[in-house]
């Protein structure tokens, strides 16, 4: 495809324009993390630290048992991602490739669960997890993922709705049963959207703050997001450690995203061929 020069100019100027908006606060976070406390608040503003304090990262990391938190965060993220991929692919497959009684009603119910106001269901949920003996363990943060999340099921269904029906017919002729059709034919097709779900799930779980806050107690069980928030006291906040940990916390999801791009680019249509 040939693209004209003016078209390219427009594209680049838009890219740059948006980059300023997206990058600027981010750069400010990075610069802040490397400053001394005095420079952070100084006015007129100081853009670049006079001395790049990379030790801020180490200090922040050592201020709390972050290595422990990291382990907890990784455990939760990995397990929930596995859980979501297995459960959501099954559920979305069921919803998108079959006709059955109450399908629309059930699907509306599924959508409805995305709108549940957490403020008022949180305490009863706490009671319920307490009854299960799950409070102060990572279980409430992991196990529900094995039962699917409405958000990802819905997203996956949107992708699956576009896959031609002929595929199942062909599979049936080849003698595959329903489960084999799902696992051998549809799982590969869903590679791109499933990668997307893995990325999105990782993101939300990694940064989830409310769940860990409510369901965990012992400091040895905390996650990175909870540790990060603990730098914010009632009266004063520790700006440099907050920014330092924020940056460190960004690294794993960004790496995951860079890897995921490859699978996303392969796309659905690519998989069908």
């Amino acid at each position: 495809m040939k693209t004209s020069a003016w078209y390219k100019t427009i594209i680049y100027s838009l890219l740059v324009l948006f980059s300023v908006y997206f990058l600027f606060p981010f750069i400010w976070i990075v610069l802040t993390a490397l400053k001394t406390e005095a420079e952070v608040y100084q006015y007129p503003l100081v853009f670049f630290p006079s001395e790049w304090k990379f030790s801020n990262f180490i200090d922040a990391w050592n201020a709390q048992p972050f290595s422990k938190y990291l382990l907890n965060s990784v455990t939760i993220t990995v397990l929930t991602t596995i859980g979501q991929i297995i459960s959501c692919s099954m559920i979305a497959y069921g919803f998108s490739r079959y006709e059955f009684k109450f399908k629309n009603g059930l699907f509306i119910l599924l959508l409805a669960t995305m709108m549940i106001p957490w403020d008022v269901t949180m305490i009863p949920l706490y009671m319920q997890f307490n009854l299960f003996g799950w409070i102060n363990t990572l279980k409430p943060l992991i196990i529900p993922a094995f039962f699917g999340s409405a958000y990802y099921v819905f997203l996956l269904r949107q992708f699956l709705m576009g896959v031609p029906k002929e595929l199942e017919h062909a599979a049936k002729i080849d003698g595959a049963n329903d489960f084999q059709t799902y696992s051998r034919i549809f799982m590969p097709i869903m590679k791109a959207p499933l990668t997307l779900i893995a990325v999105l799930n990782m993101l939300s779980v990694w940064n989830d703050y409310l769940g860990p806050l409510i369901f965990l107690q012992d400091r040895s069980k905390y996650t990175l997001a909870l540790g990060l928030a603990a730098f914010k006291g009632v009266h004063e906040l520790q700006i440099i450690p907050i920014m330092s940990i924020t940056i460190l916390m960004i690294i794993p999801p960004v790496i995951a995203f860079l890897f995921a791009q490859k699978y996303i680019v392969e796309g659905i249509s690519g998989a069908i061929k």
């Binding site: 594209i11 409805a112 669960t113 949180m122 305490i123 819905f154 576009g162 791109a192 940064n207 703050y209």
Partner: protein, 313 residues
Amino acid sequence: MEQAAKRFKRSRRLGKWTPYLFISPWIVGILLFTVGPLIFSLIMSFFNWPVTSKPKFIGLDNYSKMFTDDPQFYKSLWITLKFAVFYVPLSLGISLILALLITQHVKGVKIFRTIFYLPAVVSGVAVSIIWGWIFNTKYGILNYALSLLGIEGPKWLVDPNSAIISIVIASAWGVGTMMLIFYTNIKGISPDLYESAAIDGAGPFRQFRSITLPLITPTLFFNLITSTISALQQLTLVLLLTNGGPLKSTYFYGLFVYNNAFKHHKLGYASANAWFMFIIILLLTALIFRSSSVWVFYENEVKNKPARGGKGK
């Protein structure tokens, strides 16, 4: 013979159960984790529950108070609806534009892709702190930058008129996830379609209108519903950035519910508030869902025509 018929029937019956088996994890999950708390909160909406002591049954009092005796309820509802009407199309538009930009075949696009995605990865605590700083009227970086250009910046989080704009600017910073969803969808579109369109002489805008847009309606639909929900439930940012101010101009419904529950310790009342919003969102979603048959196209419906002739499967 009779046995065979029975078998056949049984298999048909089991066959009918197959889809339910596929969705069974979700059904089990909803029974285990969702139904209980949901019903509990519904029941609590008929109680006066100050959290620290026993709930007392008060019938419909919470609901009647909400509709007749709490001006803040209407104010918060109005602010939230206004925000949603403004923010949902805006965020959809921006994320779609971004997704289109990062699918362009130009040099360095990979870097831009990562840049646009970056903010979505930053945790909410840091986002609110950094934007609070940027927007600080007197010592913030935004007004400092404007002053270098000789412009006197607005009183971002102090003036009720600009506060809501500040919230929009800060919220839109995290559209990376929506962008990624669009992006995945666009990447799934067969390049053949564009090639043949280009041969027909269609420019980039016509290609977008006749190929891209129809083919991404499934994810557009998804993003529309989820962003509507999150706009109507917006809490984190207003809680941390403005705490409802200035002059309650950003006292969103989510904050109204949250404060009733955790600041005023009126959990029964908060449950009534939350259930009302739940119903509104449900109705709205149902409406969008209804409309979807008109404007959402699933690829097999669209592609069937050329595919049948071309590939002869």
